[in-house]
Symmetry: C2
Subunit: 265 residues, 2 copies
């Protein structure tokens, strides 16, 4: 049995609470939030508090609070030498006050308050200053909620966090632009959804490098020109041009090879 005190009442804290509450091997001893309102509906399930000085004993304390608050709250905790972890992709483990045993429990997924979370689809990036004693606790906790734990150091976590912005926020913005393009001609964005899913699914079989196709990779100048001309929004054009260049940079030697062999024909 692992005992936990959870701090914060946002997206991550709420989904972690629900998962911990269901897990047989985890007991949530207490849930802290500076503002008790969002915890009210859970008060029959768990001891709730808005007073840091009244925190109870536990195997670990999880700071699921805004990135900027991690350092502050960790130094306000009225004890030392206990395991304290944060859940952030971009905050250093060393932002946690050094009076504690420190660690990170970063769920690499996007959470929204309303949607249910299937923790089997949430890789847990785990780091601990003390590998021998503390990491096994974090690993066990991840497994208890059905997640796959991964040992990830701070540099790797920072890289994963930036990469997550690309595959989540930037990909979503690409979807948004596709939505604008289709709408501008009265076409249905929904028709693109199977292609969107297949583009993601393909990574089960192929690396993104191997999966690439299309006019940019083929250096199909006629289609590239046609597309640039068809895009009415300057901003869409700029993104089309930069990402086309990016694809050609990635597959550059290939394009040169194809062009040379065309010349030789």
């Amino acid at each position: 049995m692992i005992s936990v005190v959870l701090l914060g009442a946002g997206n991550v804290a709420t989904h972690l609470f629900k998962a911990f509450n269901k897990a047989i091997e985890v007991s949530v001893n207490q849930w802290y939030s500076r503002n008790l309102k969002p915890l009210e509906s859970y008060k029959n399930l768990v001891n709730i508090t808005d007073d840091l000085t009244k925190l109870q004993d536990a195997d670990l304390y999880i700071l699921a609070v805004s990135d900027d608050a991690v350092s502050d709250i960790s130094s306000q905790l009225p004890f030392e030498n206990r395991l304290v972890v944060h859940t952030s992709g971009s905050v250093s483990m060393y932002d946690i006050d050094k009076k504690h045993k420190r660690g990170v429990f970063y769920p690499l997924q996007t959470f929204s308050k309303d949607a249910d979370v299937d923790f089997s689809q949430v890789p847990l990036c785990i780091e601990a200053l003390n590998n021998k004693e503390d990491r096994p606790i974090l690993k066990k906790l991840a497994k208890a909620i059905g997640s796959q734990p991964h040992k990830v150091n701070s540099d790797q976590r920072a890289a994963l966090h930036v990469a997550a912005v690309f595959v989540n926020n930037f990909t979503n913005q690409i979807y948004r632009i596709a939505h604008e393009i289709t709408e501008s001609q009265g076409a249905e964005f929904d028709l693109l959804k199977p292609l969107i899913k297949e583009t993601a699914r393909k990574l089960d079989d192929l690396s993104p490098f191997m999966a690439q196709t299309g006019p940019a990779k083929r250096n199909d100048k006629k289609t590239l020109k046609k597309h640039i001309k068809a895009l009415e929004d300057q901003h869409h054009k700029a993104i089309y041009e930069l990402l086309t260049k990016s694809i050609q940079k990635t597959h550059g030697s290939l394009i040169r090879r194809v062009n040379n062999s065309n010349k030789n024909n």
Copy 2:
């Protein structure tokens, strides 16, 4: 029963043949390719030919050939006044020789030769010069292979084709960059796959506008700076900056509103 003559032996032609061959209401009378080699293994299932002058009768002729070849082949066909369609997202219906009844049968999906295709996940964009007589044939053909037919005019199809480049090629390049970023720090790209899938899946519930989250939308300057600094590749930086700007343009009034309300606090 719809009878078809298929022309071309590439990705699209091959997957269409397999689907038609399985469909009870479709008979493939003949399969043409200028080069018979790729058709050899199908010759027990269908009449194959490399001679355009020997094409048999059918309800429709499907030109599943390279975009550039559509116009040429259509004018070489040794008959007139029959229904001839191409399968391209970017070629005009009017590129088909005007001696024919013309149409388009554009499958909005990415095909590769090896991977099986589930046509229930392939929206079929249908256009016909003659709405009354020809469009119903194309509609019936799409349904016969389990696809959803959609009436799409040329402008809409052009928009869908550009938008498809965004959600398929550009999204895939975003995945590639995420792969480069994680690899550069020895982190595992695979950890991002559940997030990639969830980003696509979320569109079942929310528009891309509503689904957006992250530092660009929040205008979280500290994290944005940290990310830009962490990106070593100039090219990755340029894409980070342009897509961040793009998100802020889309959610601009929101960001201004939040900043103003912060100022008022």
